[in-house]
Assembly symmetry: C2
Homo-oligomer: 211 residues x 2
């Protein structure tokens, strides 16, 4: 049994940025990189990058930089990206359909195993090769499809009810795209995707520059 | 002319979370709140909340807490949410359509003023009351519609070309939903929306608990 490390959320967010950047570098067939290069690409201080990477393991050699594939694989291990977590998306409106088509999800080692909706016109359809099931049957299909993570992409007023169904069916984590603060027991991890964070950061910068 | 404050990105992200939470509290007709209450809802330490709020102004009175509407309005001012920044969404696939229908954008004081695509079947359509224009005409329509922010929701391989067109047409900021690192001059603010950050944080927690 591995010891659990506490890694602050801000560090996790930067790790996923490093992972993304390393993946881009690897695609461009770049073999080694450095904290300085990552710092320039990501606009994060090199000292912070070195500190983050030292927190999660021993990478890099003084003067030689980091091996791109080695570092990428190590970060993937830490983030659990090699575990092929299995996702179900609940709500196949525009957002759910966009997520079902979002290639990065499988690029990063996740599997979209099932889609759910309550709309009879959508049930039985396929999006990106994945079938839309009747949400009423979530418990049994989720068991059969070994769902780990439920993605909530339904209207706000249905969010908690959907979450309750997911939790009762035994999902381990929830990725919540609604504005609702989901009530869940401690052992269920809920991550809120707040799209407005990025837009309000942009707004802040524009505001500063228009003064 | 107002002095420009440097506010770290992580603080900006928390400010947008406080704003979201205050908006929910206001909707529930809650009149006052406290760092302790915000801390419980958001799972952030109360000392950090107090520090963030003190950085951005004088709010709250010892023992009386914060006035919800007053605090919300002040944060909105800091984030520039009262400025009615005007957005154009480029790419009306599932993601672009989801964003065009995303109510929070107008709730937070942004205006989606135009949509753009290159698909003739989509040009001339309306989504959520906003018209889809031919992206070839971006420069002239952007001028007429006073676009401040371009939202890039196109396939990765078209991202930089779209960005170049937006920049040439004078947009001030870019909200980038692609995986591409956009090249832009220093005076154009680019904010990347990396949906994988949330999912990889979730994966990390599940990974820790499955060991």
């Amino acid at each position: 049994m591995q010891e659990k490390k506490h890694v602050p959320k801000a560090t996790l967010e930067r790790l996923s940025l490093y992972y993304k950047t390393l993946q881009n570098l690897d695609n461009e067939e770049v073999v080694t990189t450095s904290a300085i290069e990552l710092a320039e690409i990501l606009d994060i201080k090199p000292e912070k990058i070195r500190k983050d990477l030292s927190m999660v393991g021993k990478f890099g050699m003084k003067g030689l930089g980091y091996d791109v594939i080695h570092l990428k694989t190590n970060i993937a291990n830490i983030l659990g990206l090699q575990n092929y977590w299995r996702l179900a998306i609940i709500g196949v409106g525009n957002l759910g359909a966009a997520l079902a088509n979002y290639e990065k999800i499988s690029d990063w080692g996740f599997v979209i195993a099932a889609l759910f909706d309550i709309d009879e016109n959508k049930i039985g359809e396929e999006i990106n090769g994945v079938r839309v099931y009747d949400f009423k049957k979530f418990a049994s299909i989720s068991r059969r499809k070994l769902i780990d993570i439920g993605v909530i992409a339904v209207p706000d007023d249905a969010a908690q009810k959907v979450a309750d169904t997911l939790i009762a069916a035994g999902v381990k984590g929830i990725w919540n795209f609604t504005a609702v603060q989901i009530d869940a027991p401690k052992n269920i991890k809920v991550v809120d995707e707040n799209l407005m964070t990025g837009l309000s950061a942009l707004s802040f910068y524009l505001n500063q520059n228009s003064n």
